[in-house]
Amino acid sequence: MVAIPGGDYRPLYMSKDSPQTQVRAFNIDVRPVTNQQYWLFIDGNPRWQPLTIAQIFAEPQYLQHWQHEGKNILPTDEQLNSPVINVSWFAAQAYCRSLDKRLPTVAEWERVASASETHADGSQEKGYHQRILEWYSQPSRKQLADVGGNAPNFWGVQDLHGLIWEWTEDFNSALVSGESRGDSNIDQRLFCAAGSQGAADPSDYAAFMRFGFRSSLQAKFTLPNLGFRCASSKDQTNDKI
């Protein structure tokens, strides 16, 4: 994990003059969790194995990219170092908890992911948004590449863009911040173009896509391009919801 200093973050759907969200200092995994790491976890936690997991915690597609070998379901050799996918939010949370970690919040994830290779605020770099969008426009590959293939960003964190989408702790909360300000009209945020008018950075289409994607998820969804990484608070005790 690497330490990320505290700082301000302005949720995308807020207007330029709305107050920023404070993100406390935290730690985050350098790379997404791999199939091998996840396999080790369920090996010691039968509750989360594909054949025993309760259906309320995951869709039937849970870990469906793994292979049946006799009585077991395991990743293939080629999959060992690629990111684990087809996992639900519950499963991702259980994995992180088993290591005394947690999932990163949306604010934490976006704060780290807004850095380019050279700037903490990647949007200042020419072509930054464009590169992310180019990845978004490509269909997911059947066999995902190994983690760590993308250059570390400003904070030393890899694969935030270009490999998979990632679960966040509060992924489904973007639509409920009904603050009594003009910029948080829910209807505005539900429809594509309207909200961008007042947004902090209307050119950051990539972030709009992430917020849209997240709010379409349910915690038990298992998708072939959705994995996760873990985070932890700097001071574990002051961890708010």
Partner: protein, 190 residues
């Protein structure tokens, strides 16, 4: 001769018991039950319990926080109105659960005070507080969306969830007064 260390033996017995208990748990709680969550909570009297201890009765459950000024009082009033609309027989089979979204401040004492202030009939009601993580997991299972905003306030969807005797979700209604009669009808339908 092999000597048996009593501490190790006790530990082994404990481990065996734990295995049996967890086995029984996963066998008796249906796959699609909210009670699959094995989190532990404190009720208004400080008793430690798991959600599966609510099995055996139908339950109406909402996520709230006690200092909430807007939607929460409406949810609680709506649930009370449901309680009043049930016949005496039906009341015996329905419980009402309020789970705190701000566990840091909603201690059992605060919950107890809240229950007294709102004149909740504690034969039928339970108020729970737990860890922030467990509250979020419960919200995820119920698909209730919420977000912490400044000053310990929480924006959340004001849903009431009806659970059957084994913790399966049977209906969800917005917690407003004119949904009380509808919820009563739904409670009778399963």
């Amino acid at each position: 001769m092999i000597k048996f260390n009593p501490v190790i033996i006790m530990k082994l017995i404990g481990l065996a018991l734990l295995l049996v208990v967890s086995q029984v748990h996963s066998q008796t709680v249906p796959q699609d039950s909210v009670y699959q969550l094995n989190s532990t909570w404190l009720d208004q009297d400080g008793n430690k319990l798991t959600l599966s201890s609510f099995s055996g009765k139908k339950q109406v459950l909402s996520l709230i926080y006690t200092h909430c000024l807007h939607t929460c009082p409406t949810i609680v009033s709506t649930m009370q109105s449901i309680e009043n609309k049930l016949s005496e027989d039906e009341t015996q089979n329905v419980g009402f659960i309020l789970v705190s979204l701000t566990p840091d401040t909603d201690t059992p004492e605060v919950l107890r005070e809240f229950a007294q202030k709102r004149h909740l009939n504690m034969e039928n009601w339970s108020l729970l507080t737990g860890s922030a993580e467990d509250a979020r997991s419960l919200a995820m299972v119920l698909d209730v969306k919420y977000q912490n905003v400044t000053d310990n306030e929480v924006n959340h969807s004001n849903l009431m969830t009806g659970l059957d005797k084994e913790g399966r979700i049977k209906f969800q209604e917005i917690g407003v007064m004119n949904n009380a009669a509808k919820a009563v009808g739904e409670l009778k339908s399963f």
